[in-house]
Each structure stands twice: as C-alpha cells, then as structure tokens.
Symmetry: C2
Subunit: 162 residues, 2 copies
DNA sequence: AGATTATATCTTGATATCAAGGTATGTGTG
DNA sequence: CACACATACCTTGATATCAAGATATAATCT
C-alpha cells in the first residue's frame, strides 16, 4: 500500500463511477520521475551542473567529435523550447563550457561546440552520473529492469507520436 | 530503435567503459513523464486548470467530506515546497475555488477547503482527466499495464525511501 | 531576379518553482 | 512558569521554463 495506492483508494471511495487504474500507472511514473530527478541532481551539483546544463553538455559529448550541434538539434534532443535553449546556451557560454561558432553552412545559425573544459567536465560528470543511476535501479533485478524497459518503450511509443 | 536507443548507442560508441543500461530505463521514465504531462495539460486547460491547480483541487476532492486539508497536508501529498503551496493556494483562493479557514485546533495554521464552485469544477474535470488517461494507456493491454504497475511500484519503493 | 514562404535563433513578458529565512504559535523541559 | 525548541505558514529573491513574437537568412516559386 504505497502513496499511489492510497490515492486510488480515496478516489474509488469518492467516485466509484470512475476507472482510476490508469491514474495509478501514470501517477507512479510521475512520482518515480520526481524521485529520480531529485536523486540525480545531487550528483550533478557536485560538478557545478544542473539538469539543464548536464543535459546540453552530455548531448554534445555523446555526439562524438567534433562535439558540436546547432541549437535546433539540441532543442530536439532535449525537449525544450527555443527560448529555454538560448538561455541554457548563454549560461554555458558564460561558464566557458561551450562556444558559439558561426555555422559555416547556414548564415542564420550557430554551432554550439564543447570547449576543452566542457569536455573534461562532462566526461568526468557522466561517469559519476552513471554510477548514481546504477544505484537508483539497484532495487530491480536485471531481468526486471529489462521487462520494465520493454513496457516503457511500448507505452512511450503509443504516447509520443502525434 | 527509439530516441532513447539512439542515445545509448551514441554513449556506447563514445564511452564503452560505461554501463549505460540504467540510463535507458531512467531516460524512458523521464520522456514518458514529459509526454504524459503535456497530453494531460490539454485536458486541464479545458477547465481553466493547470497541473498545479488540478493537483490541489483533486487532493481536496478525493479526501472526502468536508473536503479540507491543511497546507502542510497538501504539501506532503503533492511534493512541493511550502512557498509553492502558498502560491498555489493564493491563486485558487483568488479564483474562488477554495477558501482559507482558520484551523480551530491549531492557531498557527489554516485549513484549505473546497468551495462549492471548486467542488463542481474538479468533479467535472476529473472525469475528463480520467478519460484522457485511459486514452494515454491504451497502447498497453490491461495485463501489460498491471505488469508495469508492479515494476514501477518496486522501483519506486527502492528509490523513494530516504 | 523578385516575391513569398520557411527556418534558425533570440527577445520579451509572464509564471511556477525552489531555497532560505522570517514570524507567530505550539510543545516540552527544568 | 520561563525558556528553549519545534512547527506552520508566509515572504523574498533568484532561476528555469514557456508562449508568442521579432529579426535575419535561406529556399522556393513564378
């Protein structure tokens, strides 16, 4: 009987006309995401990073050499709006972790490129991050985690297309 | 090969020293949560509500008569800080959907109570919300959803205690 | 080529959130 | 009973985000 069960029980009492089973699943996804984010933030903070800055640096790092993407590419990868991405880029540029380079192939745009310091930082931070994540999933067996992956993938496929 | 698979593939290429399987699971939870929230917001907006206001009203409604809780109780249920809850309560009070009543048993505190308009609104909105949620989980069979529930519950139990 | 439409990014303004600290009331201890 | 400590809520200040719109450049179409 966890927190979500309690909520469903209340609804079934108050609104027996409603089928709240899906609410339980979705509620657990929300709470899980919240708890995971809170836990991961602690690791990011050790490197002076936030969700936002880690996200951008990691996206550039995993892209491989030359570690550069346009703001539009970054927006698509990170699911934020253009205003948010501009803001993130400004902060990271001020911190010296990325550089804005004129895009030689498109006069409207820029390329956002990891600086050496940005590269070194994210390379170290991502190792700690992966360790934190391993800790966070340690309540599941490998097999359970893989089952979960498969179900999440299917769920996501049904929801994300539009 | 969804978006998350692509990310993992990039990391395995760039950082073969890291085990990024947990990142896949956690990444799917994050993306799923994001997509679900975006979809549910549309329903809330039809009733002039947001994530935040729906959350508070629903918490009061499902509590049952007399539909009143302290701000502290609401904070605990909704996982936000006290400043955020004060702000939410102010907005809902201004909108005439809740009322602040002096707590007769504790001079320091208030009870937040659903107004009649608040009750009527949330009772209608939650029915639409449940329908939206049913639509969102329709990519899974009932059995798959129950499997997912069980795995999420276990995952959450391991992460949420602290 | 000129006009139109599309794209890439930034700017602006509004809002929700959090962390930290303040004030008032309650609780417990010697 | 006086004093310390805890609790409940609010205030303040900083920040991240989004939606909508502005600007510059590119692509397309006649």
């Amino acid at each position: 009987m966890d927190h979500v069960d309690h909520i469903l029980k209340q609804w079934r009492q108050e609104r027996p006309d409603l089928d709240v089973d899906p609410m339980g699943t979705i509620g657990r996804v929300k709470r899980l995401n919240h708890a995971l984010m809170r836990a991961m933030e602690k690791t990011w903070a050790k490197y002076g990073l936030t969700d936002a800055s880690f996200d951008v640096l990691a996206t550039l790092r995993r892209e491989g050499a030359p570690y550069a993407l346009s703001p539009s590419d970054l927006m698509a990868s990170t699911m934020v709006t253009s205003g948010t991405m501009t803001h993130r880029i400004n902060l990271l540029e001020k911190a010296g972790l990325i550089e804005r380079v004129k895009n030689p192939e498109d006069g409207r745009g820029f390329l956002i490129s990891l600086s050496q310091r940005g590269f070194d930082l994210i390379d170290e931070a991502v190792a700690a991050h992966v360790e934190t994540q391993a800790q966070l999933v340690s309540g599941l067996t490998d097999e359970q985690r893989q089952q979960l992956d498969a179900l999440l993938r299917q769920f996501l496929a049904g929801v994300e297309q539009e």
